[in-house]
Amino acid sequence: MLVQKYYESERFVPDKEMDACGLFGVMHTGGVRFGGQMAIDAIKNMKVRGSGLGGGFAIYGLYPKYKDYYALHIIYQNKNLAAKKVVETFLKKHFYVVFDEEIPTNPDIRLFAPPLAWRYFVAPQKSGVEEDVPDDEYVISKVMYLNSEIEDAYVFSSGKDAGVFKGVGFPEEIADYFMLEQLYEGYIWTVHSRFPTNTPGWWGGAHPLSILDWTVVHNGEISSYGANRRFLEMHNYYCTLHTDTEVLAYAVDLLMRRQGLPIEVVAKILAPPMWEAIRYMSDNDKELYTALRMTYAPLLMNGPFTVIVAHHNEMIGLTDRIRLRPITAGAKGELVFLSSEEAAIHAVCPDLELAWTPPGGEPVVVRLHTKDHLQSLNKSI
């Protein structure tokens, strides 16, 4: 299904990179699309959380005109046109490409080694043994192939009606570079400002990370990375991005998309309650949580993290079970915010109505046309 990259030996599997960061997400639960001003200003307010080595945005409700097609954002590093040729040949063979264009950029913004960025709106063109493969799986496998096999080409995002814009720089520079504020609207904006512990900062390593329309922005380090990775490899997810966030994205994909578990449960897999807490639960819960921990032990994300996971209709904020990384939620009318720092929300929404910090492991689930996010308010302070 997914493409395995073979290494000479385990010894040469690259280490993950660790990073810490600033996160922000905003969603209109009424589905109303809006521009990027709030997201950009908020992340700018938290500039000190990043280091200018990565910034990126995920936007949902991005391409209403092409909303039925997979939107592939592909970058060609070093503006490698040969790679572009190979990719386009591949795309033509496996997809119907209904439209493609260079993603417009502002030439006045100087960034580190900007690649050529191109977008393709495609529909699967299946053949042979792949006829019966569901569309999503088909797209993923092709994306994985491109990412791992074609030098200098990298798929930023591949979801429908959604897209990821990211690169090396501060997020506001990325926004300016891709002219997000002028050109795009969406009903969910998530944004990430990266502070890699190690790193070279390359465009593909910036957040959000995505599979299909699933995107993840992450702050923290997943100390259990090695254990998580091996489990996901067993399920044919191969980590090629060398960032710990990748395992989170795959875990979410595995549990939510492929296994169909609701986010509320997934949250308890990634950030399970302590055994000590389980001991004091009702019998029903005790049984449930014990089973979850036993079954999904390898997906316990240990170490500090906060993530904002988004896909169509949904934006989820989650921290590790002892909340070693911060998150604050806020709401005003139908707008719901998630942020690393509360001040950033206030800065972009002066008349905020609610602000709360959910406890560790307790997801804030923001869904279209619901008030589900308020459930976490009750457990929060």
Binding site: S51, E342, A343, H346, P359, I381
Partner: protein, 284 residues
């Protein structure tokens, strides 16, 4: 990875492109006697703190800072000679992390919520937050007082300590999240739980894990399993009651409310069961 030389991407986001302090002083500060009012809108934290220091050096002792959104370390740089006046600082809106870190004697009043790290390693002074505060409030605090009107986040009063006449006090009007008083080695934490329903237990788990000094007074109830195993529960004695009484009244002075009504509820006292919680785990 990739062997990139990414010097290009290296910028010191704390220090890049700062506006000169003289310029800021002339454009952002208006003074009236010893009072100064500062517009912090859009300032980087270092700019704001440069400006605060400058304003104080120019003789202001009463500072009002407006339009604060996330600027860090307010109060930290104000290390003045011992004979200098203590400052009174009002912060409007939302200060950033490490508000009053290492604070030495000044008073900071926040009209808005505060973020993480309020009073980090604070030595003396007073911080009053008309709102709530984030995680690790009063971490390693050694002296002075912090009053938070509403709730506080995780690891509140972690490793709070005391030293001779310095006994730090943290009063929280609402409740706290997990690991309240972790490693606590001294000082007083008073958790009023004013926002809890009747009979609703406090929210925090692992209260006082590793606690080996100080005392937590808790108004309202909690379940046994919410406590760390290093903590014991006692009814408050007369001295405790005097403490509680004093700080509840101070709390009400700052934020309003009826002290007698608050004092009417049941208080519990949490203290470490041992001053040497980890004395026995080693083989000598």
């Amino acid at each position: 990875m990739n062997g990139f030389n990414v010097k290009f991407g290296f910028r010191d986001n704390f220090l890049d492109n700062l506006q000169p302090v003289d310029f800021l002083y002339h454009t952002r500060v208006s003074t009236n006697g010893c009072c100064a009012s500062i517009n912090a809108l859009g300032l980087k934290h270092k700019e704001l703190n440069d400006l605060l220091r400058e304003t104080v050096l120019q003789g202001s002792t009463e500072l009002v800072i407006n339009n604060v959104f996330g600027q860090r370390y307010i109060g930290t740089r104000l290390f003045l000679p011992p004979e200098a006046n203590k400052l009174h600082i009002e912060v409007n809106k939302f200060p950033g992390n490490d508000l009053g870190a290492f604070l030495n004697g000044h008073q900071i009043i926040v009209h808005g919520n505060a973020q993480d790290g309020v009073g980090n390693t604070m030595n003396s002074g007073e911080i009053i937050v008309h709102g709530r505060a984030g995680d690790v409030t009063a971490m390693s605090m050694r002296g002075g007082k912090i009053f938070i009107r509403d709730n506080v986040g995780y690891r509140t009063a972690i490793h709070m300590k005391e030293y001779r006449e310095k006994v730090p006090v943290l009063v929280v009007g609402g409740t706290a999240q997990d690991f309240l008083g972790e490693y606590m080695a001294g000082g007083i934490v008073l958790l009023l739980g004013l926002n809890l329903q009747q009979g609703e237990p406090h929210r925090a788990n692992y209260i006082g894990t590793g606690m080996h000094g100080g005392v937590i007074y808790l108004r309202g109830c909690l379940a046994e399993h919410q406590l760390g195993k290093e903590v014991g529960v006692l009814p408050p004695d007369d001295r405790d009651k005097a403490n509680i009484d004093r700080y509840v009244r101070e709390y009400c002075n700052h934020f309003g409310g009826n002290p007698d009504q608050i004092l009417n509820e049941r208080f519990q006292k949490l203290v470490p069961v041992s001053l040497r919680p980890y004395g026995q785990i080693y083989a000598y």
